[in-house]
């Protein structure tokens, strides 16, 4: 299947991403279609609040280029970006971004060691799954 891939995060957007720009996707992000995926701002210190599950570095829109790619449907399913439109209060995306921070930022890792273990295991499984799908797709494509 065809999809648009964010050049920075590697996440996939549906094939109608550019066509529906400004309507279904990218509201408030300007006239040119760019990635609406979020990125972590590790340079800004962690923003503290009473809820420990919300302690994290700030996040922001990445505004990266999107490229049309052909990928297996299975890979799209597991690496699809959460659309901004269906998550305006960022309930789903914030959880994912915080997990990435715990995985990649040593300070966050030390602050939440138990969470880190389970996130690390899940991430390794995810990577192995993606690798397997890609290998299968490439060998089928080459043959």
């Amino acid at each position: 299947m065809f999809a648009f891939r964010c050049a920075r995060t590697g996440l996939y957007f549906p094939a109608d991403y550019v066509e529906q720009w400004g309507r279904k996707y990218g509201k408030g992000l300007g006239i040119r279609p760019v990635s609406e995926a979020l990125i972590n701002d590790y340079l800004t210190p962690v923003a503290h609040c009473r809820d420990q599950n919300r302690v994290m570095h700030p996040v922001g829109q990445c505004y990266s280029q999107v490229d049309l790619v052909q990928i297996p449907e299975e890979e799209f399913r597991i690496n699809q970006a959460i659309p901004m439109e269906g998550d305006t209060l960022m309930e789903r995306r914030a959880v994912v971004m915080r997990e990435r921070q715990i995985l990649h930022d040593p300070a966050m890792r030390n602050a939440f060691p138990d969470e880190y273990k389970s996130i690390f295991e899940r991430d390794e499984e995810h990577k192995a799954r993606v690798k397997e799908i890609r290998t299968r797709f490439q060998s089928a494509y080459m043959a």
Binding site: A47, R54, V59, G60, Q61, T88, R93, V95
Partner: protein
């Protein structure tokens, strides 16, 4: 004369920052009379900003754009041409309505007004 303040405030999930200018040099206007301009950008959708000058509301809570960079003048103006007298507090309140932490980029310009204030 014009004075400028610019900064970045990380706003935690579902929280409010009462005044992003707290502790900044021109949090209170240094001029007898001045005209101000507030520029703002958010890192992603879900921030609202509100301007109070000397205890008077200039804007109600207003959505902030999502450019994820420091404000560009004049593109990212939220409100300009507001008056402020000497010693009055400028208060920019920011609310994060989302479940994730966001950055608020702000800039305040104060231009000395060429008027004489009586009384």
């Amino acid at each position: 004369m014009v004075v400028t303040m610019q900064g970045l405030e990380a706003v935690a999930a579902n929280t409010t920052v009462q005044n992003v200018l707290t502790g900044v040099r021109y949090e209170r206007s240094p001029f007898t009379a001045a005209l101000g301009a507030l520029y703002s950008c958010g890192s992603a959708a879900g921030l609202t900003a509100e301007l109070n000058v000397g205890g008077q509301s200039v804007t109600p809570p207003t959505n902030v754009n999502t450019q994820n960079r420091y404000p560009v003048v004049p593109d990212d103006v939220l409100v300009s041409q507001w008056e402020v007298l000497e010693g009055r507090l400028i208060q920019v309140t920011v609310v994060n309505t989302t479940g994730g932490a966001l950055n608020f980029f702000w800039r305040v310009d104060l231009e000395e007004a060429d008027v004489q204030v009586v009384g």
